[in-house]
């Protein structure tokens, strides 16, 4: 049963997923893969919320997860629009190419 899994295990899983997503953002050079890693981070956070809601038997965790999903969808659409703009300006999807703010 869900109530038999200790909360700590769920939170540790969320933490590991978050860390993996974070490393992905920092390491990958392709903007699209960075966005995917951000999605992973968002899902990890959602998992953490759900686990917390299950622990105290309240529905707030699930509601938060729906908010996060909605926000993720909106963010992805904006992000992909920005990626298109980036590609239009720099002819590449390399994040390091957009460093004209240097200095």
């Amino acid at each position: 049963m869900i109530s038999n899994i200790p909360m700590e295990h769920g939170l540790i899983l969320a933490a590991i997923l978050f860390a993996l997503g974070l490393i992905g953002v920092l390491v990958r050079r392709n903007i699209v893969f960075m966005l995917m890693s951000v999605e992973v981070m968002l899902n990890a956070v959602g998992l953490a919320f759900v686990v917390g809601g299950a622990r105290w038997g309240q529905v707030d965790g699930q509601i938060m997860f729906i908010f996060i999903l909605t926000m993720a969808a909106a963010e992805v659409s904006v992000g992909l629009a920005l990626v298109l703009q980036l590609h239009h300006s720099f002819k590449t999807l390399d994040a390091d190419a957009a460093s004209t703010m240097k200095g």
Binding site: V25, L26, R29, A95, A98, S99, T100, M101, K102
Partner: protein, 631 residues
């Protein structure tokens, strides 16, 4: 009448203010009226007050008029107050009368100058400051006048400011006299801290009561005041500024650097003579400095070519005579020589101005000649002035004053044979260089056409001063010639007559004959060397020894070279090695540090988005770590 004393300095100051504020917009006739008229009015009032003073002298022979309290702090309240006593009356009369004659002369001399009103503004300020100096009741007000005349000297020497040479001469005068002024200020501090007052009468009484003769404080205070006097009066070692000060207009040289400002040092020592009597060592130093200066300047005048420089060195030399007199305690003799010197030296300078104007602004005597026929009035007045300077026996004022000094140098208790001999040699040299000047300028072949004939406003002062140069001496004649003692009797309340060593009347006559012979033989030598056979002097000057001597004397005995090596070069060297000012680097260091930190920190702005994300992560980790650690 004597209640109008304050008008004497106030009128020239008023003239200065009017001309300084509105001079440029006034028509020239109004400027002339204000500029020369203020001093003329002052002279008139001075004469009237003088007559009043002589015929009906006030209580104690001194009249003090207090105008207002200058400042007040900690129980000390010096006031603007003027004291009229015989000494200051003589100074006031000479300053205003000779000053007025020079102003009258300047109205024609400077008439073509574009700085006409500026000139008269400065001259009026000068006369006002000088009158403040001599009328001052306390040493603080005297110092105010002292500084005022120093300022005006700077402004007037550098009057034609567009030429940098004039500016350099003005700065040199100001800086050298400043050294003396600093010594004098320290002397004033010393007097005040020890005696609690700077009012001259109170000071002299307190010093006499408190300090024994020869005490260290008295010697130190007198020496410091002497330093101030040396600077202002251009005596050894601070005499280097006066020859260069001839860069100013000739009326300036006549008024400031012959008749009045340079005698301020003589006045100071005469005023504080009680203090100098308490310090015999310093008084001897005054006499020795006077004797040395009169010889050095006399020899230097012998080889000068610029007519004004001859007169400048002559002034230094004659003030040396005054210092010699002060040093042997012959106070009224010094003041007598001051008076006659003011007359004939101003006359000589004004005459030189006429000659310079008439010879297309040429200053070199050897390029002039034969002016005797061309400028007769100038020639005769100049001759009278030169005769007075050379102390021509009996008929000139200079004879009486110089002879009195020589006699006092021999017979006074603190005098001696050596000082007398120095004075005698100086008189011989004086005659030679004076008549060298006369023969070269006025006799011989005329080398240049006369370009500007002097008008009445220039000739009149010359004539009046010539009359004074003759009759001015008749107020003090020695025993052998009628024993007239009007001058020293008049100064009796200030300078009690000194006890003279008992000498036979015959000795005094002998000395007078010696002095007269010396003066006449000097004229004869000048006649031989510069009229009859000018080649002898020139040939000697061309020989190797002669050339060296001439160069040495020409440079004023090398004092400029000495001061350059001793003071100017080390100063310039320290300024050069400190060019990147090490104190400044403290301030610039702050700016450099900022720039360095900026350079380091701006490396973190890479523009790279992953770098920024990393920064956020590290920050979050640190933040959480702190929260966990504090928990």
């Amino acid at each position: 009448m004597i209640a109008f004393l304050y008008l004497i300095p106030a009128l020239p100051f008023a003239g200065f203010i009017i001309l300084a504020l509105t001079g440029r917009r006034l028509p020239k006739s109004v400027t002339t009226l204000v500029g020369a008229g203020s001093v003329g009015l002052s002279a008139l009032i001075a004469v009237l007050i003088g007559i009043n003073f002589i015929t009906a002298p006030p209580q104690g022979y001194a009249f003090t008029q207090t105008l207002w309290t200058w400042m007040q702090f900690d129980g000390y309240a010096p006031s603007i107050s003027f004291t009229l006593d015989p000494l200051s009356l003589i100074m006031v009369l000479v300053i205003t009368i000779v000053g007025f004659l020079i102003h009258l002369y300047s109205t024609e001399f400077m008439s073509d100058d574009e700085g006409y009103s500026r000139f008269f503004a400065y001259m009026n300020l000068f006369v006002g400051s000088m009158l403040t100096l001599v009328l001052a009741d306390n040493l603080v007000l005297l110092y105010l006048g002292w500084e005022g005349v120093g300022l005006c000297s700077y402004l007037l020497i550098g009057f034609w400011y567009r030429d940098p040479v004039n500016g350099r001469a003005a700065r040199k005068a100001f800086i050298v006299t400043r050294i003396g002024d600093t010594a004098m200020a320290i002397g004033l501090f010393l007097l005040f801290t020890n005696l609690g007052t700077l009012n001259i009468q109170d000071l002299m009484q307190a010093a006499h009561a408190k300090w024994p003769i020869g005490s260290d404080t008295a010697v130190l205070a007198a020496a410091l005041l002497l330093g101030g006097a040396l600077g202002k009066s251009a005596q050894l070692p601070l005499q280097v500024w006066l020859p260069d000060a001839m860069a100013g207009p000739t009326p300036v040289s006549a008024l400031i650097h012959a008749a009045t400002m340079v005698t301020a040092g003589v006045y100071l020592i005469a005023r504080t003579h009680v203090l100098f009597e308490l310090a015999p060592a310093v008084q001897t130093a005054v006499a020795v400095i006077g004797a040395l200066t009169l010889l050095i300047a006399g020899f230097s005048a012998l080889v000068q070519r610029d007519i004004k420089r001859v007169l400048a060195y002559s002034t230094i030399s004659q003030i040396g005579y005054m210092f010699l007199a002060l040093g042997v305690g012959a106070w009224s003799a010094a003041m007598f020589h001051f008076m006659t010197h003011a007359f004939f030296k101003a006359l000589l300078f004004l005459g030189a101005g006429v000659v310079i104007l008439a010879q297309h602004e040429e200053h070199d005597m050897f390029k002039m000649g034969g002016l005797r026929k061309k400028l007769p009035a100038t020639f005769w007045t100049f001759l009278i002035g030169s005769a007075s300077l050379s102390a021509l026996p009996v008929v000139t004022a200079g004879f009486y004053s110089k002879d009195l000094i020589l006699w006092q140098a021999w017979s006074s208790p603190s005098g001696g044979a050596l000082l007398w001999a120095a004075g005698l040699l100086g008189a011989f040299i004086t005659s030679i260089y004076t008549f060298r000047m006369v023969f070269v300028t006025f006799f011989g072949e005329s080398k240049m056409e006369v370009s500007h004939r002097p008008g009445s406003r220039m000739i009149m002062p010359l004539m009046i001063l010539a009359v004074f140069s003759i009759v001015g001496g008749f107020v003090e004649m020695p025993d052998t010639l009628g024993n007239v003692a009007l001058f020293s009797d008049f100064l009796q309340p200030i300078f009690p007559v000194q006890a003279v060593q008992h000498v036979v009347v015959g000795t005094e006559l002998l000395f007078q004959i010696i002095a007269s012979l010396v003066s006449l033989s000097g004229i004869f030598v000048a006649y031989l060397l510069y009229f009859r056979s000018p080649q002898t002097a020139e040939k000697f000057a061309l020989s190797s020894v002669g050339a060296k001597i001439e160069r040495f004397w020409f440079s004023g005995w090398g004092f400029d070279w000495l001061y350059e090596k001793l003071f100017i070069n080390p100063f310039l060297w320290t300024a050069k090695i400190n060019k990147s000012d090490f104190i400044d680097s403290g301030y610039t260091g702050i700016a450099s540090l900022n720039r360095a930190i900026h350079a380091v920190l701006s490396k973190t702005q890479t523009g790279n988005i992953r770098w920024y994300a990393m920064g956020i992560v590290i920050g979050a980790v640190v933040f959480l770590g702190i929260i966990v650690a504090l928990h």
